[in-house]
Amino acid sequence: MSLLPYLIAAWLFLVGLYGIVTSRNLVHAVVCLSVVQSSTYVLLLAIGYERGGTAPIFLDVPVGTRAVDPVVSALTLTDIVVGATVSALLLALAVQTYKRHGTLDPEEFRSVRD
């Protein structure tokens, strides 16, 4: 239990990479990349978690109540925005690639080099 969330983060990281490596569809690869990224959310939030702590919001509870780390939340928020924007860009690239090559399969488009 004391390591479980960290192990899950490592698992998500590798399983997402496996998806990218074996992907036959660029859109699929982009979604797999978002799984890789989600591992960093899990890792960050698990590191800042304090057993028995409340959310770091002192509206109904007084300051001084044991709370989890607010910093990892702020970091993860940034991370989520990064993830969404990178995914959007990649999807746009994938759509355009399909338009040029007529396929989304990385095996099928040979590189442009001579």
Partner: protein
């Protein structure tokens, strides 16, 4: 506390947003002018910071959140001459690139200008930041802009594929960096580099420290395109529009190495101090392999921008060897070399852009003899090739001389041989291309295609010429070597950095300037000349022979061909392959580090 440190990031971001908001009412030329003026302003602001930082570190706490009892609550820019110098380089290159775009792009809206300014702000923030997570944010900012810019020429299918591979591989690299940050945060509860360094210095180099260093190292190596993390680079750089390529090759590759140096000397140099010898061997190995693979691949190309892209990889390898010596002397040489080399790469990308614009192609075989009416461009390419080879008095020579000196002092004098070989390989490739394109050597002239006739427009020639002049100036400024070594000495002084950031201790900490003898050391100058001559021979000689080869040549070709073919097939631009190599590299570096540390 003055406003200066915040402005080189805030100004381009504000202008970028304004350009998008005003897109319906602003015309092309005013938008060009605003973008150029903004980039030049950033360059000026960074230069001012550089001067200020030369007198002592400049620490700027955003929001006024100065640390309490050594605990950083906010985010700081911690500006030293190395970071400010790289930021200035980025500003100069961006200005040159935007001037170049004036004529190069027929019709662009303001979106391109905005994206370039955001890109520049990302680079500058990355160079100035003293906070690990803040570095990650700026790293992503510059990366996301770069992905879009790399795919900017959407009519080119290669461009899209290059951008996709670029974005996926670099994103994985960024997540590795973030995972490394998370590990360090879990151990120390800090994100400020100085505070992290203090927290780690008291502990051992245990498994967490090793793996955190591994994750950051691999993430930054992906950005720097160190072998085997380099498979994305050639497609992305070669297919990007020329002005974007100028920035990519000129400064972005070096940023990965800068970041590694920064985190090593602020955070890890305490716990890893005892293992510096093993670490040096690992980094030196990576640098040597990168330099050689890049150099050989460079010689194999006849697509000019792809050729320059591999030259970039090769020179990142050289810079890494300087850094790998893990001492201030090697670092100083590496910094000087990287800046001069960046200016020359920017100039060369611009020259190739002129070729592309006026001759409608960047394939040296399809261009044979067609560049005869571009004498200025030809001159710039040849001078650039000599600059890349490190011929005096270019700044690259001075940087290499410092690195060689440091290598000799550290018992690695053999690095000189590597420098000669790599300089010869990349110079050979460029001189061969110049010989073909501008002199028509090696065969009948190619058929012309429809393209705007010469002569090249001043807005395209001037940036290329001025960047090259900058690289010359770096080699000629008296006393620069001594100043750079002083800056490097301060860069590597972890306690002084921490004191400046966390306690506000000012004043030039660290070692005093080593007085560096003026003038050019004869030995290194001789080696550099040898490299240039070798490069000339290797590049031009095959073009002058009537028939392809004699018996011996054929035997050599038979030996050489499979190597070339294997290298080519490895560099196939497949996304799955790039990511697989990334994981292979991570496993390899991780195993080496685990063996080397303790």
């Amino acid at each position: 506390m003055g406003a200066l440190p915040a402005l080189p990031v805030a100004v381009p971001l504000l202008v970028a947003a304004a350009l998008v908001g005003l897109a319906p009412v602003i015309r092309r030329r005013p938008a060009d002018a605003v973008a150029v003026a903004t980039a030049a302003t950033v360059a000026g602001l960074c230069a001012a910071l550089l001067l200020q930082a030369a007198g002592g570190p400049v620490v700027y706490w955003f929001g006024g959140w100065t640390p309490r009892q050594g605990i950083a609550l906010g985010v700081a820019f911690a500006i030293d001459p190395v970071g400010a110098g790289l930021a200035t380089l980025a500003g100069v290159l961006a200005t040159a690139a935007l001037v170049f775009s004036w004529r190069y792009f027929e019709a662009v809206g303001t979106l391109y200008h905005s994206l370039m300014l955001v890109f520049l702000a990302g680079i500058v923030g990355f160079c100035l930041s003293g906070d690990l997570f803040n570095m990650f944010v700026f790293y992503e900012l510059l990366s996301v802009s770069a992905y879009a810019l790399a795919g900017y020429r959407t009519e080119d299918p290669g461009s899209l594929q290059g951008a996709l591979n670029f974005a996926i591989t670099n994103s994985v690299g960024a997540f590795l960096v973030l995972a490394g940050i998370a590990l360090l945060y879990g151990r120390s509860g800090a994100l400020n580099l100085a505070q992290l360094g203090q927290a780690l210095a008291s502990g051992p180099a245990d498994r967490l420290v090793v793996v955190a260093f591994l994750l950051l190292l691999v993430g930054f190596f992906v950005k720097a395109a160190v072998v085997p993390f380099h498979f994305w680079l050639a497609d992305a750089y070669a297919m990007a529009p020329t002005p974007v390529g100028m920035l990519f090759a000129g400064v972005v590759s070096e940023l990965g190495l800068y970041a590694l140096a920064r985190v090593y000397w602020t955070v890890f140099s305490g716990p890893l101090a005892a293992d510096a010898g093993g670490l040096r061997a690992v980094l030196l190995g990576a640098g040597v392999v990168t330099a050689l693979v890049g150099g050989v691949m460079c010689l194999l190309q006849h697509h000019l921008t792809r050729l320059l892209a591999y030259a970039t990889i090769s020179h990142v390898g050289l810079t890494l060897t300087g850094l790998a010596l893990l001492g201030p002397a090697g670092l100083g040489g590496a910094v000087l070399y990287a800046v001069a080399d960046g200016l020359i790469k920017g100039s060369l990308f611009a020259s190739v852009g002129i070729v592309q614009y006026h001759l409608g192609s960047v394939d040296e075989l399809a261009l044979r003899g067609r560049g005869r009416h571009l004498p200025w461009t030809a001159t710039l390419v040849v001078l650039g090739a000599l600059g890349l080879a490190g011929v005096p008095p270019f700044g690259t020579f001075l940087g290499k001389a410092l690195m060689e000196e440091a290598a000799g002092a550290a018992g690695h004098a053999w690095l000189t041989a590597l420098f000669v070989v790599v300089a010869a390989l990349t110079a050979a490739a460029l001189l061969r291309a110049a010989g073909r394109v501008f002199l028509g050597l090696g065969g009948p002239p190619a058929r012309a295609v429809d393209a705007p006739p010469g002569p090249a427009h001043p807005t395209m020639l001037a940036p290329a010429a001025l960047l090259l002049a900058g690289a010359l100036a770096i080699g000629l400024v008296p006393g620069l070597a001594g100043r750079v070594e002083l800056a490097a000495a301060r860069f590597t002084d972890r306690p002084a950095y921490a004191a400046a950031v966390l306690q506000g201790a000012s004043g030039p900490g660290g070692a005093d300037a080593e007085s560096h003898p003026p003038g050019y050391p004869a030995g290194p100058a001789g080696w550099a000349t040898l490299a240039a001559v070798l490069g000339l021979a290797l590049g031009i000689w095959p073009l002058l022979r009537r028939r392809p080869s004699g018996l011996r040549g054929r035997a050599a070709a038979r030996l050489w061909a499979p190597v070339g073919a294997a290298l080519r097939s490895l560099h196939n631009g497949h996304i799955g392959d790039s990511v697989t190599w990334l994981v292979v590299g991570m496993a390899a570096f991780g195993t080496l580090l685990a063996l080397v540390v303790r």
